[in-house]
């Protein structure tokens, strides 16, 4: 008998009598821009309101040094082109990635980022700085509404909440562990 069969047989023999699976209610909450902004700031990110999508390029140029090696499917001024086949050496030198976030969660500041929006699966983490473009219309209150919006999580996707951080040395919070050193949310109408 293989380990698979052995394990499954032992589980069947040892599991208790079936108890029901509960229905999870949709706990509602505050889905306002104010709440979302406060949460993003609390977890170490910053929120910049962009008056119109047309100003995106200009705002990015104001927020980040012009000579940054930047990858983005959203801007014409990118100087690094990234796709799923991009060599690691090129990825490792990216200083800024500007990507489209699908929707934000007000209760925790997380933004859903599916693989399709990443250019390369490693880009959101390997870039030194990350900016996510997010529509103000695309905010939900809690994780219940968030998962309800996801018919599928695709091949890979992440709820990304703030910059990479650690507190592993004496519980001192340090921003910029292995992933992006900063997270900027570019909030468009």
């Amino acid at each position: 008998m293989s380990s698979r069969e052995k394990i499954l047989a032992a589980v069947t023999a040892n599991q208790p009598a079936e108890v029901p699976l509960p229905t999870v209610p949709f706990f509602e909450g505050d889905a306002s821009v104010e709440k979302f902004t406060a949460l993003v700031q609390a977890i170490g990110g910053r929120v910049v309101e962009v008056a119109a999508l047309a100003h995106l390029e200009e705002v990015v140029r104001q927020l980040f040094p012009a000579d940054y090696r930047m990858a983005s499917p959203l801007l014409s001024s990118t100087n690094v082109s990234v796709d799923a086949q991009t060599p690691l050496a090129v990825l490792a030198d990216v200083e800024l990635a500007v990507l489209q976030g699908e929707f934000g969660v007000a209760e925790n500041g997380a933004i859903w980022l599916p693989e399709e929006n990443m250019l390369h699966r490693a880009l959101p983490m390997i870039t030194q700085h990350l900016a996510l473009v997010l529509s103000q219309q695309q905010l939900v209150a809690t994780m219940h509404q968030a998962y309800a919006r996801l018919a599928t999580v695709g091949g890979y996707g992440t709820f990304l909440a703030g910059p990479s951080k650690t507190a592993d040395i004496e519980q001192s919070l340090v921003i910029g562990a292995h992933g992006a050193r900063s997270l900027t949310v570019l909030l468009v109408p």
Partner: protein, 458 residues
């Protein structure tokens, strides 16, 4: 060595013990703030508990459903009955890909299986990439906490470690600079990693997805740069539906560190084009625990560490005093299932105050199970002789009121008359090592009660 003997080692440094105690209590307070700010938190706990109870009651179904969906997604699923088989599967995959360099993100399961020593012995370079895990890996220590693996260390210790292994300046103990050094050092490792191993926080049966939660981004970085991703999971990580994640992502970090969510909550369903994703499902004693009605609820654990942060014993004895992969109250109810003799002292490393049960986000009755393990250990003859005989003597005395009252009378006199060195002798009264016995009263309550006028007694 028993838990209390190992605690003595930790307690030698009183200043550090106090720091450890206060730091973990601070984490507990952060948890409270996050919990109180979530009005439906108690409902979420109940839901999480019910979802896990249900999953365990149909685990055979969900395991197969998960496997089928994962396979359909192009994922390779492996089954390991024990740690040895788990390690053999992982090594086999590495050999198959000719890999010698592995980056690993946090996984208590691989700690439990002692994967690292096995890989190292077989010529594989395995680098732990979580900062806390990397620190203790360089020091060749075990994690002392499930979420904060290096919480037993001070920044001076980390500074010394990095000076020795990563060439930082001696005396540089700045967390910011030390973290930056680790970032640079580990970037090289990430880029060179051929295979990435991760743990699993949740496995979704209906989609075949594994979810990995980190703050540092080390799991995503390692996995997305390497050619092969091996995700190792205990079989109890399953949940039925994608929407169940809404409950667990809301309670996990609030309970663990007081954060609203981890920085990265990543869902791995299909490997990237041209790459491989392997999932190893591990039993290693879990089916046995599932068959113990009093203790199966321990399998609901989501490894948040809240029970450790709140435990008055853990905070003052340190994670290493448990000498088990999972320390603290939850470790004390998981460990006897693995090796009753070796871990016999752990269910006694508790005051049974119940604080662990109060904070547990999946409502495991931890302190009840600690009490029940004590009964099991007693019946199995696994109690230390001192405890066994003193308990036996005490139960004799308590069963005979005459003997009890006579004993009390003798004790009150003896405490008054005997020299302090004798009543507080460290050799036979460990209670008095750091405490003074109270002044003995003139009479017992029963004696006083007998003297009261009859009318007052009604």
């Amino acid at each position: 060595m028993s838990h209390s003997e190992r605690s003595d080692i930790f307690l030698l440094d009183a200043e550090r013990t106090t720091w450890h105690d206060e730091t973990l209590w601070f984490v507990r307070e952060k948890r409270d703030k996050a919990v109180y700010a979530t009005p439906e938190f108690q409902k979420l706990r109940q839901l999480a508990s019910d979802i896990k109870d249900h999953t365990l009651s149909r685990l055979d179904f969900y395991l197969q459903q998960f496997e089928e969906n994962a396979r359909r997604n192009g994922v390779h699923v492996h089954w390991a009955a024990d740690a040895t088989e788990h390690n053999a599967i992982v090594l086999g995959l590495l050999r198959q890909h000719g890999a010698t360099r592995v980056v690993k993100s946090k996984s208590m399961l691989t700690e439990e299986c002692h994967l690292n020593p096995h890989l190292l012995a077989n010529g594989i370079e395995v680098i732990d990439t979580d900062l806390g895990e990397r620190i203790i890996q360089l020091r060749e220590e075990a994690p002392s906490h499930v979420v904060l693996p290096a919480i037993h260390l001070k920044k001076e210790d980390v500074g010394d470690t990095f000076h020795k292994y990563l060439g930082t300046e001696k005396g540089n103990n700045d967390p910011q600079q030390l973290t930056e050094t680790a970032r640079q050092h580990l970037r090289e490792k990430f880029l060179a990693g051929q295979v990435a191993i991760s743990g699993v926080n949740f496995a979704v049966a209906e989609t075949g997805t594994v979810v990995v939660c980190t703050n540092e981004g080390n799991a995503d970085l390692g996995v997305n740069l390497a050619q092969v991703h091996i995700a190792c999971m205990g079989m109890e990580k399953l949940i039925p539906r994608l929407s169940d994640l809404s409950v667990f992502t809301r309670i996990l970090t609030r309970s663990a560190t007081g954060q609203p969510i981890t920085t990265y909550t990543s869902h791995f369903t299909r490997p990237a084009e041209g790459k491989e994703l392997h999932i190893v499902i591990v039993d290693n004693g879990r089916t046995q625990q599932l068959g113990r009605p009093d203790f199966r609820a321990s399998l609901k654990c989501i490894r948040c560490g809240a029970c450790m942060n709140t435990c008055p014993v853990y905070r003052r004895s340190g994670g290493h005093s448990y000498d088990f992969t999972i320390p603290g109250p939850i470790g004390a109810i998981l460990s006897p299932n693995i090796d009753m003799r070796k871990h016999a002292s752990l269910p006694f490393a508790s005051t049974l105050c119940g604080s662990c049960t109060d904070v547990c986000p999946v409502k495991i009755d931890i302190h009840t199970q600690l009490y029940k393990w004590r009964q099991v250990l007693g019946e199995a003859g696994k109690l230390p002789a001192s405890k066994k005989w003193s308990m036996r003597l005490l139960s004799r005395v308590l069963a005979k009121p005459g003997m009890y009252s006579a004993g009390g009378k003798v004790a009150r006199q003896a405490l008054r008359l005997l020299p302090h060195g004798l009543t507080h002798g460290q050799g036979y009264n460990p209670w008095a090592i750091a405490r003074e016995l109270p002044e003995p009263p003139q009479q017992s309550f029963r004696e006083w009660y007998a003297q009261q006028p009859q009318n007052d007694k009604a």
